[in-house]
C-alpha cells in the first residue's frame, strides 16, 4: 500500500458513519499495524498466503498480543493484582468487582477477552453466606454488565463439570436474560455431571441456544485438569493460550494438484502443511521476540498467564470439499458424510495432518510440548463455497446418528477444539431427557465438543456463534446492538450488509477487516 492509499483508508475509517468510536479506533490500529512489513517468510509461503491456500485470518502484520489468552483467574483472585491495585477479594461483591475489572484488561486478537474462566467454580468460594435471592440478583447484574461492557459474541465462560448453586443460578439467569454475551460451554463428565444438571442445561439451550457441551474426560486427557474453552470452540490450557491461529484451506490444497489420492497424501498435503507451519512460526517469533508481549504485559509479569503454558493453533478447514474433489478425481461417487470411502479418506487426511503437527517443532509452544495444537476451524464471514473445519456441508448432513458416527473419529485429533452442530427435531423440547441421552452417547462415541440447534428456536447458530433469528429479521430495518448479528447476516447473504447506524458490538474475530 502506498502513502496515498494508506491516507485514504485512514480517512474512510475515521469518517465511516456506521462505526462507533471504539470500532474506528480498533480499525485504525489495524491499519497502523499493517503499515509494517509482514514477518519474513519464504517465497513459497508468501505465495500460498496470497493465494489463500493458507491464511492468518487477517490477524495483522505485526502481532503485538496473542490471539487468545486464558488467564488463570483463580490465581489472580488468590493473589490480587499489584498492577491493578486490587487486593484479593474477600466476599462475592469484591470477587465480581475484581473479575469485571480484570476482564477489561485482558487482550486478545479482537481486543476483548475471549475467556472468562470456570466462572461457577471461581465464584463458589465467595457464596457461602449469600442467600439464594442475593446470589441471583448479584449474578444477574454481573451478567448484564458482561453483555454491555464486552460487546463481542466470542466472550466465553465455562461451567461445570460438577453441580453447584452458582452454576444453576447462571443457567436460570441465562434463561431469563437471553443475552448473546457471554457464550457458554458446559464441561460434561460421566461421573461428575448428574443427569439433572444436564437436563437443566438442555432446557437452557431451548431458551438461548447455549451452552455448548464439552467432553471433560477427553479434554483432561489431552490438556490436563486446568483447561478452558475460549471464543468459538477453542480449547487450551488455563494460564496459557494461543499465540496465533493460522489455517490451511484443504479445498485449495486439493485444487492445487491433479495427482492421485496417494500423491496428495504423500506430497501435496505435507508441502502446504509445512508452509502453514512456517507462517505460524514467523508470527510467533515476532510476537515473542520483537513485540516482547510476555516480557512486559502485567498478566505475564504477575503470573496470570505463563509463556510455558502457551502454544499455537494449527487450523484446518474445507475438509469436505477436499475429500469430494479427490473422490471426483478418482472417479468415485462417494462423498463426505455418506458413510463410504470418502469418509475413510477424510480420516486418512486428518491422521496425516495430526502426524505432521505432532512432528513439527514450534517455538514458544511448551504448552503443547513444543508443538502446535491441531484445530478444526469454524470459518469467517468471507469464506465462500468452503465448509467450516471438518463439518459435513450444510444441507448434506445425514441423520443425527450417522452424523455423529461420521465426524466422531476426527475429534480425538483436535486437542484445541473442533465444532460440530447437530440439528435436532423440535420434539425434544417436550422430552429434554432425550437430548441428555444423545449428549451422553456422543461423548461415549468420542465427540470432543458440540452444540445443537432446535429447528424452531428463536436463536439460530450458523457457524458456531450465536445470533437471534428475530435480530436477523430486524437487521434490515434498523440499528443492531450486537456485532455478531452483523456477521451472521453477512454469512447468510454472503455479502457485507449495508448498515445504516453504528452497532455497539462487532465480532472482530470473524469480520476481521475494516471497510469491507
Amino acid at each position: 500500500m502506498n502513502q496515498e492509499e494508506f491516507v485514504d483508508q485512514v480517512r474512510s475509517v475515521i469518517t465511516d458513519e456506521i462505526l462507533t468510536f471504539h470500532q474506528r479506533r480498533h480499525y485504525l490500529a489495524s491499519l497502523a499495524e499493517n503499515a509494517l512489513p509482514y514477518p519474513p517468510v519464504g517465497d513459497a509461503c508468501a505465495e500460498a498466503l496470497n493465494k489463500g491456500i493458507i491464511s492468518d485470518l487477517f490477524e495483522g502484520h505485526a502481532p503485538y498480543r496473542p490471539r487468545y489468552l486464558l488467564p488463570d483467574y483463580e490465581r489472580a483472585l488468590t493473589n490480587g493484582s499489584g498492577h491493578l491495585e486490587l487486593d484479593p477479594p474477600t466476599d462475592l461483591d469484591e470477587a465480581l468487582n475484581f473479575l469485571l475489572i480484570l476482564y477489561t484488561q485482558v487482550p486478545s486478537i479482537t481486543g476483548y477477552p475471549v475467556y472468562l474462566g470456570d466462572i461457577d467454580s471461581l465464584l463458589l468460594p465467595y457464596t457461602g453466606s449469600v442467600s439464594d435471592t442475593d446470589l441471583r440478583s448479584k449474578i444477574r447484574l454481573f451478567w448484564i454488565a458482561l453483555d454491555r461492557i464486552l460487546p463481542d459474541g466470542f466472550v466465553h465462560a465455562n461451567l461445570g463439570p460438577t453441580d453447584n448453586r452458582v452454576l444453576r443460578t447462571i443457567l436460570d439467569v441465562e434463561r431469563e436474560l437471553k443475552q448473546t454475551v457471554p457464550n457458554l460451554s458446559l464441561k460434561v463428565d460421566p461421573e461428575l455431571t448428574p443427569d439433572d444438571l444436564l437436563r437443566d442445561a438442555v432446557t437452557t439451550v431451548f431458551a438461548t441456544a447455549k451452552p455448548h457441551f464439552v467432553n471433560h474426560e477427553m479434554m483432561v486427557g489431552d490438556l490436563g485438569t486446568s483447561y478452558g474453552v475460549a471464543s468459538c470452540y477453542n480449547s487450551m490450557k488455563q494460564g496459557g493460550g494461543s499465540h496465533t491461529l493460522v489455517r490451511l484451506n484443504l479445498k485449495e490444497v486439493a485444487l492445487a494438484q491433479s495427482g492421485s489420492i496417494e500423491s496428495f497424501l504423500a506430497d501435496t498435503l505435507p508441502h502446504y502443511a509445512e508452509l502453514n507451519a512456517e507462517l505460524m512460526e514467523a508470527r510467533i517469533r515476532f510476537l515473542v521476540e520483537e513485540a516482547k508481549f510476555f516480557d512486559h504485559d502485567f498478566l505475564a509479569v504477575e503470573g496470570i498467564i505463563n509463556l510455558d503454558r502457551f502454544s499455537a493453533m494449527y487450523g484446518v478447514y474445507g475438509l469436505a470439499e477436499a475429500v469430494n474433489i479427490l473422490m471426483e478425481h478418482e472417479g468415485s461417487d462417494s462423498r463426505y458424510g455418506d458413510g463410504g470411502e470418502a469418509d475413510e479418506l477424510s480420516y486418512r487426511i486428518i491422521e496425516r495432518l495430526r502426524a505432521f503437527v505432532d512432528e513439527r517443532e514450534m517455538p514458544y509452544c511448551q504448552g503443547a510440548g513444543g508443538r502446535a495444537f491441531l484445530h478444526s476451524q469454524s470459518g469467517i464471514d468471507s469464506d465462500l463455497d468452503v465448509t467450516a473445519g471438518t463439518r459435513i456441508p450444510i444441507g448434506g448432513e445425514p441423520e443425527t446418528f450417522e452424523h455423529i458416527a461420521t465426524v466422531a473419529p476426527h475429534h480425538r485429533h483436535f486437542d484445541s477444539g473442533v465444532s460440530d452442530i447437530f440439528k435436532i427435531d423440535d420434539t425434544v423440547q417436550n422430552n429434554p431427557e432425550a437430548m441428555v441421552d444423545i449428549i451422553r452417547g456422543a461423548f461415549i462415541s468420542g465427540m470432543r465438543d458440540f452444540t445443537f440447534n432446535i429447528d424452531d428456536n428463536e436463536f439460530v447458530r450458523i457457524t458456531g456463534y450465536l445470533v437471534r433469528k428475530s435480530d436477523l429479521e430486524r437487521f434490515s430495518e434498523g440499528p443492531e446492538r450486537h456485532g455478531s448479528t452483523v456477521f451472521a447476516a453477512g454469512s447468510v447473504a454472503n455479502s457485507h450488509v449495508t448498515q445504516r447506524r453504528p452497532k455497539r458490538v462487532l465480532i472482530h474475530e470473524h469480520s476481521p477487516r475494516p471497510g469491507q
Binding site: T400, T427, N431, A434, M435, D437, A442, S445
Partner: protein
Amino acid sequence: MNTAPGLVNSTIRFSAVDGPGNRFVVFTQGCNFNCITCHNPYTIMECTSCGVCVRSCPEAALTIQAGPLVVVDGVACTRCDICIDVCPEDSTPLARYVEVKALVAEIRAVAPFISGVTVSGGEATQQPGFVRSLFLAIKSDSTLSHLTTLVDSNGSAPLGVWEGLMDVMDGAMIDLKALDPDVHVRLTARGNADVLRSIDYLAQHDKLTEVRLLIVPGYNDGLDAAEHAAVWLRDIDPDMRIKIIGYRAHGVRVEASHIRDADPVELDEIAGVFADHGFRDLTVV
C-alpha cells in the same frame, strides 16, 4: 428361547416422542383396530400380495416371489411411497419379517445414545411372541439390560398377553380412545372392555407408563367425557402419567376429512379437568 421374527413396518433409531428419553422404536405391521383417525393407516393390514403396487412402482423395485410378501429391491426403491398410496388393503409392501437377532444388532449400535426401546405399531401386542423375544434378548444381554423396554399399545390385548410380558417389559403406554363404549366403537370399530381391563391390570402391576387421550373434535372432546375419564382413571391411580394429545389431520385417510384439528384452548380445558381431579403428571401435546 422363542425367536419368532416380527413383521415390522420400520424402525427409528432416535425418537423423542415414544416414551421417556431418547428411544429406539420398532413399528410393527398389523393392527386389530381400524381407527378413523389413524395417522399411519398403511400399518393396519398385512400385505396380501395382490400385486397392485408391483404394477404401479415407477422404479420396478417390487416383485412377487415364492414368499408371502411382495419383495422390495432396497437399492432401486426411492421411497416415493406410491406403493402405499395405491395399496387397496391399508398395507405396504415395505414391511418385512425381521429376526430378533438383527434388531438387537441395530439396538446395540445405538445403545450409548438411548434410554430404551419401544415397540409401537401397528399394534405391537398382535405379535406377543416377537415382542417377548425381543425384550428377553435385551434384558438377558448384560450390555443392553439397562435399557427400558416399553410397549405402545391400543390396550386391546387380552390379559394373557400382558401376563406373558410382565417379566421382560418395563411398562406400557396405552391409548384410551374413549371411556364411553359407543364412542369407542365409532372411533375404532371395536369396543373398549379389553382396553379398560388392560389399564387396570397394568396399573395394579406397576407397569402403566402413561395413558394417552387423543382428543378428536366431534367424538370425545366434550368436558363431560373428560370428567368421566378423569374420575375413572383417578380411581385406578391418581399418580399415573396422563398425556392429552390433540388430533391433527396430517396423514389420515379421506374418511376422516370431516374432522377438524383439536383446538389448543379446548385441550387446556380438558387438561384442567384432569388437574382438578388431582392428576399432576399431565402433558398436553
